[in-house]
Symmetry: C2
Subunit: 120 residues, 2 copies
């Protein structure tokens, strides 16, 4: 089951993944999907992002516990995602925060678009 989940690709919502699994014949429960997703996210096996309309989506990064800070370029259509880094952004965020006297700074940066394949 864990396996079946890990084989899913791209950023998908829990509900979406659940539906896919059922269609694929697995008789899995919704709670199981949520439970694993949370576990994965906790272990760093999955990235979590919230789309513009507030949906929570997950994506598996592979088995590598590569915990490096990165952001995503996500296809709005198919959910496919590229992991990207941006020293420029990190610097900008820190600078902005510092200038206003904010501490314990974090930031969320996600880029959405339509990938070459989907754009046709």
């Amino acid at each position: 089951m864990r396996q079946a989940l890990l084989e899913q690709d791209g950023f998908r919502s829990a509900q979406d993944i659940y539906a896919s699994l059922r269609v694929q014949g697995h008789s899995v429960g919704l709670s199981t999907v949520y439970r694993h997703l949370q576990t994965f996210a906790g272990e760093g096996l999955a990235d979590v992002i919230h789309t513009a309309d507030g949906e929570t989506t997950y994506r598996f990064c592979g088995d590598v516990g590569d915990s490096k800070h990165h952001h995503h370029l996500v296809c709005r259509r198919c959910g496919r995602a590229e992991e990207v880094q941006g020293r420029a952004v990190e610097r900008w965020a820190d600078e902005v925060a510092r200038r206003h006297g904010y501490v314990q700074v974090e930031h969320t940066v996600e880029v959405f678009g339509v990938c070459a394949a989907c754009a046709g």
Copy 2:
């Protein structure tokens, strides 16, 4: 009522705003809060952002229909926010997207921290 809503400050969730209004003595309905919030957002009178944990929060920008593209530096504690711009970020996002062949690019960038006042 519209007025009472507009007087709220900082980024707050709908539920939060609703609670405040009730405490302040207004006998307002939750739906009214949501309806106005959506209207405001549509008119550009309010900015909407989703916090890291998926909560939807709103903030009033004043009466100016100043629709310029900007981001926020938000205090995690009190909800206060500074509107910031970052040409560097815009450029970076476009560049990253272009490099991977993505089109119709958009991005969400929010910086969270604890403001000087709250950090004490």
